[in-house]
C-alpha cells in the first residue's frame, strides 16, 4: 500500500538563483520518521527526472519535524532567465506532495 506525501506533511518551495528548495513539514512524529527514511536524494533524483538536473540534498530538522530538500539546476537557469511560467518554482512543493510513500513505513514507525 502506498500513500502520498500530501497525506503526511505540508510542503512549500522557494528559490535562489537556479536552486529550488522544498520545505517538508511532517504532521507528526510517525510521519516525520517515515519521511526521513523515504525522502532520500536518490529517490528524489528519479522522482524529479527531467526537472532537476543538478545535485540534490536533503537536510533534517528534527526539532520541528521537518525536512529541507535542496534541488540544484532545477529552475531552467533561475527566475531571471528561465522559460518556465513558474519562474520561481513556487509549484515545486506541489509536485513534491505527489510523491508516493509506503504506508508500512508509518505503521512500523518508531514513535507513531
Amino acid at each position: 500500500m502506498m500513500t502520498t506525501l500530501n497525506e503526511l506533511a505540508y510542503t512549500r518551495s522557494g528559490d535562489k538563483g537556479d536552486i529550488s528548495n522544498i520545505g517538508i513539514m511532517a504532521f507528526g512524529p510517525a510521519e516525520y520518521e517515515a519521511l526521513r527514511t523515504w525522502v532520500t536524494p536518490e529517490r528524489l533524483r528519479s522522482f524529479f527526472a527531467g526537472v532537476v538536473l543538478g545535485p540534490i540534498e536533503v537536510y533534517e530538522l528534527p526539532r520541528i519535524q521537518s525536512l529541507q530538500v535542496v534541488l540544484h539546476d532545477a529552475l531552467g537557469g533561475g527566475a531571471t532567465q528561465t522559460l518556465r511560467f513558474d519562474e520561481t518554482g513556487k509549484s515545486m512543493a506541489a509536485l513534491m506532495s505527489r510523491m508516493e510513500i509506503p504506508t508500512a513505513l508509518l505503521t512500523n514507525g518508531v514513535t507513531g
Binding site: 530538522l61 526539532r63 521537518s66 527566475a79 511560467f85
Partner: protein, 453 residues
Amino acid sequence: MKTVRMGAGSGYWGDLLEPAIDLAKRGELDYLGFDFLAELTMSLLQRAKRRDPGKGYIPDVVPWMQALLPITHGNGTKMVLNGGGTNCEAAAEQVLRVARDADLTRLRVAAVTGDDLTSRIDEFRQAGVTLANMETGERSIDEIADRIVSAHAYIGSEGIVEALGGGAEVVIGGRLADSSVYVGPLMHEFGWSFEDADWDLLGAAITVAHVIECAGICCGGMSSQWKNVHEPWNMGFPIADFRQDGTAEISKLPDTGGLINQWTIKEHLLYETHNPTDYRMPDGIADLTTTRLEETGPDRVRLSDMSGRERPEMLKVQIGYTDGWIGEARVLLPWPDTMAKADRCEEIIRKRLDIVGVTPRELRFDRVGVDALAGPLARRPRRDPEEIELRVTARVASREEAAAVNREVTHVSTIGPVGTAFGPPVKPREVIALWPTLVPRDMVPTNVLFEEI
C-alpha cells in the same frame, strides 16, 4: 528584561501598503523594517539609474514614506529599509522631500552605501579575487565581463548600527541583506558588537529576522494553511518581540487577517534557507536546527534555543549581466481535439522558426492546464481538456529574434487549426542573468551619510 519590538512593513517591491500603515499606527513598535529587493531588482534599478541619474531607488519609497513618515515621526518608531536600491543618496533626498512636504521638522535620515561594486570589478580581479560563480562553479568571469550590468554585495548591519547610533530616524540602504534590516536595530539596541559577539544571539537575531523579513509570508501568506487563513485581504504583517536573552515571540496586530501558528512559522523557517545548519548572512551564520517553536496564544509563536556561529569572512555578491532575449507568445485552443491541436500548433511553430532562420538556444512549449507546472511529471489527461493555452517561450540572441518568435506564434491563428484564439502580444524581454560570487568583506567598507531637516 529589555525587549525590542520590530514590525515588518514590506517583504518585496510591490507588497501591500495598508499593513505597514496599520503597524505604524497601532503596533507600538520600536522599529519598522522593509525589504524591497529580490535577486533581479538591483540590475533593474541600475539600468533605471543609467537612464536617469536621479533614479535607481525603489519608486515605492516615496508613496510609502508619504503614508508612514507622518505617523512614525510622531510616535518614535524608526524605519530601516533597503529601498535605496542603487541610489541611496537620491532615495534619502526623496525621504527628506517627503518630510518637508508634510511639514515635519527635526528629522535625521541616514543613507548606507558601499554595496555597489559595479565599477570595482577590475579592482577585485587585480587583487586576486577570482569572482568564480558560486552556483555553477564556473571560474572565468572574463566571459561575461563586457556584459555586466550591476554588481552588489549583500552588506550587513555595520552601517545601520552606525546610522542609528548617529540618531537617524530613517535608515535607507542599498543591498542591505534582508535580515540586516532587523539585525541592525537589535545590535544597536542591545549594544552588541562584532568584535565581542555572542554568536548565538546573532544567530537568534538572524533567525527571527528571516522569519519576519518576507512580511505576510510568515503570517499565512503563500501558506499550506490557506484554507484556514482569516481574511487574507486584510493581512496583518508580523511583529517580533525580541528579548535580550535571545528568545522572541512572533505575533500580529489584533483585528487583522492572516494566521500565525507553528505551521506558518515552520514553513518560513524553511523558506529559501537551504542547509539549515549553515544559514549564511553577512552578520553571522544561523543554525536553524536548534530552534524550538511553541504556540503561546492565538496568532502567537515563541522561538527559543536559537543559535549561530561567527560571521563569514566572505560576502556574497550578485552580479547581473545581459544574456540574450526571451520571446514569448500564447494561443488558446478550444475543445474538441485540444491535445491534437496543441501538437499541431507546436509542429507549425517549429517549422516556421526553421523557415525564418531563428534557432533559439532554448525553446519551450507549455500546454497550460496540462503540463506548464509539472513538466515531465505531468499526467497526460485521459480526455481532451475544455481548452488549452499553448504558451511558447524561446531564448534567443536579439530583440529582433524574440519579436520573430512572437510573430510566428501569431501566425498559427491564421494558418493553424480552426478556433485558435490569440490575445494581446507579450513584449520581448532582455535577460539579465545572475552570477553569484564571493568577495572578502574587508574589501567592502560601508559608508553612512547623514542628512537632516
